[in-house]
């Protein structure tokens, strides 16, 4: 087995396990255990890859290539750059936590549920490692299918409207991306992302950007977001905002910007403006939101804007910051949604009006929510601070006012996050918070503590990622 096969294993192991779960009549316990085991094995394989990764080289590593549609020069080509490695790590760790959460709360129809979660894991990894446009597109779309069912079957009362909105929005973007990638691939004669040359077509660039702007989302394409995040089960919302939405940002970073440098710089101001709008508008919405999930959802929207600001700043600092911030925010968002889920399990609601005083007698939930919240509002010394600082420094190199807008939004972040923490943990005891409601149980701690621990490690050593992002988009472009 070559090292490249490790990447393929990372993609296909969970999908194969999904088939096993669907076909074999296992008990609920066995199904959940198997799913969790496979997701932990994914983490293990990823650690193995990270340990073997040679950060001094700039090219593609763990690459594997095979024929798929030779006729049109489409190949099965997977591999990892340094930045892809971090995204894959984010994906497998967060999905392991989400699957564990599903196991812990005991979702009904467990075989269908865990099969879909595993399928989602495989598709997510596939998006981050695919080095062929059509393969990327296939995985990008494949993420949608399990999410649609996971929200539609296990979601909240208004789930049907939320799913249809989510699917139609995302597919609208993706299908235009399909048209764009056909145009690009047939024009340059290959669909390969590594070999493919740059292209100057603005239409093709906009086709890709539409898909990524909806997925991430950027203003004004966020219409699907509040419903989907509110109606999804907490662990699915965590996967959606922590990992899946990051695929849109990854697409900008890997495809839209490096493959279309001229259109990207032509439209730079437009996308910087959309990103800044997402950042400010999302922060304000988060501040106005009456529920915990709403705060996390809109803060994800705002963070997408911030990260896009870094990506479109077109500077090395902005790029490194964006990679770091994607990973950091992925963990923050996953942890916050899972915490929100634990709060909902204890109180049946996440409305601030009905919550309050959760901290009294429940030190674990208070500590974890407080720590994650503090990291998320980017206090100096935290991972998010490092990411945001780099992004703002990058944006500053472009023009000072972008950085000014970003800095202003960080103040807003402090406002909405502290408001949310205080509304849940402190203040007078809410009407739904019973004295009997327990603190976090061992199972829940085992899921959330590792996520927070990763965040603390990143806070202590952000350069672990930001100093190891490998080639920038410009060098990705010229890499062989």
């Amino acid at each position: 087995m070559t090292v490249g096969a490790l990447t393929s294993v990372l993609v296909w192991l969970p999908i194969g396990a999904a088939l096993v779960v669907w076909v074999l009549p296992l008990s609920r316990y066995a199904t959940g255990a198997l799913a969790l085991l496979v997701s932990l094995a994914e983490v293990g394989i990823w650690i193995e890859q990270a340990a073997r990764f040679d950060f001094s080289r700039s090219g593609l590593q763990f690459a594997q290539r095979g024929g798929w549609i030779k006729d049109l020069h489409v190949s099965y080509h997977v591999g990892e750059y340094a930045f892809s490695l971090w995204f894959v790590g984010l994906g497998v760790v967060c999905m392991a936590a989400c699957i564990g959460y599903g196991f812990w709360v005991g979702r009904d129809r467990s075989r269908a549920y865990f099969g879909l979660m595993l399928f989602l894991t495989g598709a997510i990894v596939g998006v981050f490692v695919a080095q062929d446009l059509l393969l990327f597109y296939a995985f990008f779309e494949a993420m949608l299918i399990p999410l649609y069912v996971l929200v539609g079957v296990w979601g909240g009362p208004a789930r049907l409207g939320a799913t249809i909105k989510f699917v139609i929005y995302t597919m609208a973007g993706s299908l235009f991306m399909l048209a764009a990638l056909i145009a690009y691939g047939l024009h340059v004669g290959t669909f390969d992302l590594v070999d493919g040359p740059t292209n100057a077509s603005r239409w093709i660039f906009l086709g890709f950007m539409l898909a990524f702007a909806i997925k991430s989302p950027l203003f004004p394409f966020h219409g699907w977001l509040p419903d989907a995040y509110r109606e999804a089960p907490p662990e699915v919302a965590a996967a959606l905002s922590g990992v899946v939405a990051k695929a849109g940002l990854y697409g900008m970073l890997r495809i839209a910007i490096p493959k279309f440098p001229d259109p990207a710089s032509y439209y730079r101001t437009l996308f910087l403006a959309l990103a800044a709008l997402a950042l400010v508008y999302g922060s304000i919405l988060a501040f106005r939101s009456p529920d915990l999930r709403g705060v996390v959802a809109y803060s994800s929207f705002a963070q997408s804007g911030l990260i896009a600001l870094g990506l479109f700043s077109g500077t090395r600092l902005g790029f490194d910051g964006a990679v770091l911030q994607i990973v950091a925010h992925g963990f923050i968002s996953t942890a916050l949604f899972l915490l929100s889920g634990t709060v909902e399990r204890r109180t049946t609601t996440d409305q601030f009006a009905l919550l309050g005083g959760m901290a009294r007698g429940r030190p674990a939930i208070a500590t974890l929510l407080m720590t994650t919240g503090i990291i998320s509002l980017a206090v100096p010394g935290s991972a998010a601070f490092a990411g945001e600082f780099l992004i703002l420094a990058g944006a500053f190199q472009r023009a000072w006012w972008w950085a000014a807008i970003g800095a202003g939004a960080i103040v807003l972040a402090a406002m909405y996050m502290l408001r949310a923490i205080s509304a849940v943990l402190h203040q007078a005891r809410g009407s739904t918070v019973a004295d009997e409601a327990l603190d976090l149980r061992a199972g829940e701690l085992a899921l959330i503590v590792p996520l927070v621990a990763v965040l603390l490690v990143l806070s202590a050593w952000p350069a672990g990622i930001s100093g190891h992002t490998g080639p920038t988009p410009t060098t990705v472009r010229s890499a062989p």
């Binding site: 549609i69 006729d71 059509l134 299918i145 649609y148 249809i164 699917v167 597919m171 235009f176 048209a179």
Partner: protein, 491 residues
């Protein structure tokens, strides 16, 4: 003394096998005692289709250098043979489903049904190889008449009878258009063979262009493309679901394969005309099929409109007219026939279970009750919508590529928008099967015990599922097959 042409019997062996089986099945209707008639006829039919697949595959391998046989009336080439394999495969699946689903109180006409099915498929496999206008018309009538009768096989039930009659009337209109067009083309060129028409036709000849237009209209009826689609929803809804499944898959294959052949071999000089004509029909089919499907509650009717919209996607490949378009068309047809057949077969199972037409409402909970059929349906619907759960995704990619390659980016955009619209009604079925709240599920619960076991239907659906999912992974080999097939046509 009339000189008889040399007959290459092997070239038409698939037709002969199917006709022979049809004959045996018909004999069974008379000679085999009533209780054994169903297994006998179904067995003969299955053997006939397996035999047809074997001979077609053999001929595919053996016909690397495509040529015309039997006084230049029949094309023995890989384009014909690959289409024959698909049609025979669909026929085999229809046999499996029909053996359980064609329910008659006393099995009165069960053997006749299989006899007709075989004869119909024989007509289709003849049709796809037609190399002159006469063979084209005769074989079209041949399989159409068989289809009319199959639609009305339950002649004492109102729905199927109405469907058969409607199909007969509208189908005859289509055939008449085709025949009249053929006559005009003959008048313009003095030739009925495709090669002769190409050699003698000129694109400035109004008579020829008019003839071409009428031939396109005639084929449009068979392929249920808008604006020649009016019969489709009614007939698909009224016909026994097994027949609908067969018709939706096999007729489309036959019509599109022949359309591409006649356009490439007889009318290449008019490509600037027909590619635009087909692009127009494609847009109309996509628009009408998708918009009308949005409001349907009856699942068969919805799938009928979806089949019109897929005719639109296929026409995108057809209108590109290139070798890439041919490959795209053939690949799309293989995947589409599997998905269309499979989805109707699943509907057939639910219909039998409930005893009433399947609607989005009484489909509620079906996915949880019958997991295999539910998951299969899921795959078919997502495949229709072009999501990467099967070859439907690559098929769309291919036809869009063909259109883009032809320089028609606008047609790609039309296709993309149509796909987006189609998502809504495909997802409505998935939503009905899996996501209704439990109180609704109880309302829709089946009365009268557990559903019938239906092993053969499961096998047929499994085959369709295997083709539709396998074609995503085996794109390379399938495209190679289609490429060799398309290389038999002049470009």
């Amino acid at each position: 003394m009339i000189q008889t042409p040399h007959v290459d019997w092997f070239a038409i062996s698939t037709i002969l096998v199917l006709l022979g089986a049809s004959f045996v099945a018909l004999l069974g209707a008379v000679l085999v005692p009533r209780p054994a008639r169903r297994p006998f006829a179904a067995g003969v039919s299955a053997l006939g289709f397996v035999g047809g697949i074997v001979t077609s595959v053999w001929l595919y391998v053996d016909s690397a250098n495509g040529h015309l046989v039997i006084a230049n009336a029949f094309a023995r080439d890989r384009w014909t043979m690959l289409a024959q394999v698909v049609i025979c495969g669909t026929g085999l699946a229809a046999t499996l489903v029909g053996a359980e689903q064609i329910a008659r109180p006393r099995d009165d006409h069960i053997a006749e049904f299989f006899s007709l099915l075989l004869a119909c498929a024989a007509g289709m496999v003849f049709f796809v190889g037609a190399a002159n206008l006469m063979v084209m018309f005769l074989s079209l009538e041949w399989f159409s008449i068989a289809l009319y009768v199959m639609c009305a096989i339950d002649y004492d039930v109102e729905g199927p009878l109405e469907a058969g009659l409607k199909y007969l009337v509208v189908g005859s209109f289509g055939s008449a258009a085709l025949l009249f067009g053929s006559a005009l083309v003959y008048g313009a060129t003095n030739h009925i063979d495709f090669a002769g028409i190409r050699a003698n036709g000129s694109s400035n000849d109004l008579l020829l262009v008019l003839g071409l237009a009428m031939i396109i209209a005639g084929l449009g009826f068979k392929s249920s493309s808008a604006p020649f689609h009016m019969w489709t929803p009614d007939v698909y809804e009224g016909a026994p679901t097994t027949v609908t499944a067969f018709m939706s898959a096999a007729t489309k294959v036959a019509a599109f394969v022949l359309a591409f052949r006649i356009l490439r071999t007889a009318f290449p000089q008019d490509e600037h005309l027909w590619s635009w004509a087909f692009a127009g029909i494609a847009v109309a089919s996509l628009a009408i099929g998708n918009l009308a499907a949005l409001v349907q509650r009856n699942v068969k009717r919805m799938l009928a409109y979806s089949s019109i919209s897929h005719a639109g996607f296929l026409l995108i490949g057809l209108s590109a007219g290139s070798s890439l378009g041919g490959r795209a068309l053939m690949y799309y047809l293989i995947v589409y026939s599997a998905m269309a057949f499979g989805s109707f077969a699943v509907v057939a199972a639910r219909e039998r279970e409930l005893g009433v037409p399947v609607t989005l409402d009484n489909l509620a909970g079906f996915g949880w009750e019958r997991p295999f059929l539910g998951v299969a349906m899921w795959f078919f619907l997502f495949g229709f919508a072009g999501l990467p759960l099967g070859g439907g995704f690559v098929a769309k990619f291919y036809v869009f590529s063909a259109a883009y390659d032809h320089g028609w980016a606008w047609l790609v955009i039309v296709g993309v928008v149509a796909t987006l619209v189609s998502l809504y009604y495909y997802l409505a079925v998935v939503r009905a099967m899996y996501m209704r709240p439990s109180e609704e599920l109880r309302v829709a619960a089946v009365t009268g015990g557990s559903p019938p076991r239906e092993p053969l239907l499961h096998v047929a659906v499994g085959l369709a599922l295997a083709v539709s999912v396998g074609s995503l992974f085996a794109v390379g080999p399938l495209i190679d097959l289609a490429k060799h097939a398309a290389s038999a046509l002049p470009f």
